[in-house]
């Protein structure tokens, strides 16, 4: 079962419809899923699910970034994690990275910089971010767009982050993430 984490500032906000339901629609035919707000997560969530996806948020929603204590579980998480936009920023912050100002709105050309199971070569994706990340040494950069780091992966764990929003025009990336770890994990 997949866990989709609602990263919006409040449970059941309007952002749920904009940033969480499109992810639900991308995965619902692949596996069972559950949706929980980040403020509701407990230790049991680290092992109960086969994979975890952290949603994005509105440009002005920095709630999850301002509550790093809510995400210390990422450090110990044994199941694959995919963070989208604010989800990626949160993963990076939990692992000692820092945010860098980097505005991106609209369709953006993404260039793959390291082989990975989620995407390859150059492709276009929908961006909606005010910040990118300067990843810690524990992470490899998988993709860039101009000045922005667009995707990262933990060097030892199956923890991925994408700054762009694959649920908008690149659903197959989310589906590859689910398929890549559905059987083996």
């Amino acid at each position: 079962m997949i866990l989709i984490v609602d990263m919006n500032f409040r449970k059941d906000s309007l952002g749920f419809h904009e940033f969480v339901l499109p992810i639900v629609n991308a995965v619902k035919n692949l596996d069972d899923y559950a949706v929980r707000h980040y403020s509701e997560l407990g230790q049991e969530d680290l092992t109960r699910y086969s994979s975890i996806i952290l949603s994005g948020t509105a440009l002005k929603d920095h709630a999850s970034l301002n509550e790093p204590d809510e995400f210390t579980w990422i450090l110990d998480c044994k199941v694959p994690v995919l963070g989208i936009c604010a989800g990626m920023q949160t993963i990076a912050l939990a692992n000692g990275a820092r945010l860098t100002k980097c505005l991106g709105i609209g369709m953006t050309e993404i260039t793959t910089t390291a082989p990975n199971p989620l995407f390859s070569s150059t492709f276009k994706a929908y961006a909606l971010h005010n910040f990118s990340v300067q990843p810690s040494p524990a992470f490899a950069v998988l993709a860039k767009s101009g000045k922005c780091v667009q995707a990262i992966k933990h060097k030892q764990k199956n923890i991925y982050g994408v700054l762009f929003h694959p649920e908008v025009r690149n659903r197959e990336i989310i589906q590859r993430f689910i398929r890549a770890f559905r059987v083996t994990e």
Binding site: L14, G15, E18, L59, K60, D61, L103, I105, G106, N130
Partner: protein
């Protein structure tokens, strides 16, 4: 959170308004009156009816005329939102965008420049389910504009109901028409909805159509009890 809703009087912005009002405080409507009937950004058929719709919902409305020239119209949008921020202290803007990256990214940019929230509660909705939900909620919606093959004047004035949804889905299968008109293929006008205290009655209208392009122009309308 106090929100202003980008309101065209069509089904999507009205439904987005409904969703926003369920979770936050809707302080005003914001309408761009575009002189360019081919605008990719703003709905144009019967945009003047937004005045009556606002009255039906007891909501204040800010209306701003725009020439509708690509990109320049965004400056007019920015001014209208700025006015709403000053007049109603809105903290964010709601749009009815479903799948149009063109519209969405431009509204996002304007909101970002003004440092207000941009909220898109219909974003990436399944269009069939979206249309069905509008009907299930008892909205009275008519087709007020058609702008793509094989649509023609026979569609104008038709109510959004299960039969029309089936026909639109059929067009999607055969011709790739977006069922909710995200590509501007079809425009609608809402005559009644859950937030309306009164409904709109069309007193006089005319069809202006040529080939696969046409509008049902509402010349005279009034509010009547529901």
């Amino acid at each position: 959170m106090k929100l202003g809703v980008l309101f065209s009087g069509g089904k999507d912005s009205t439904f987005a308004l409904h969703m926003a009002a369920e979770k936050e405080e809707v302080a005003c409507l914001i309408t761009l009156l575009s002189k360019n009937v081919e605008s990719y950004m703003f709905h144009t058929p019967n945009i003047h009816i937004t005045t009556l719709q606002a009255e039906a919902m007891n909501l204040p409305i800010i209306q701003k005329t725009t020439e509708g020239k690509p990109e320049h119209e965004l400056e007019d949008l920015k001014e209208a939102i700025s006015e709403a921020v000053k007049a109603y202290r809105i903290e964010g803007v709601v749009s009815g965008a479903i799948d149009s990256v063109y519209q969405s990214e431009r509204i996002q940019r304007v909101c970002n420049q003004l440092d207000v929230w941009c909220v898109n509660p219909l974003w990436k909705r399944n269009q069939k389910e979206h249309l069905e939900e509008i009907v299930a909620k008892g909205y009275e919606v008519i087709v007020s504009g058609v702008f793509a093959y094989p649509l023609d004047e026979t569609w104008l004035g038709k109510p959004l109901d299960p039969e029309l949804i089936r026909a639109l889905l059929d067009l999607q299968d055969k011709f790739g028409v977006s069922p909710s008109g995200e590509g501007g293929e079809i425009e609608t006008t809402v005559l009644d909805a859950s937030l309306f205290k009164k409904r709109i009655e069309i007193v006089e209208s005319e069809v202006c159509a040529k080939g696969n392009s046409g509008i049902l122009r509402i010349k005279k309308a009034r509010l009547i009890p529901k």
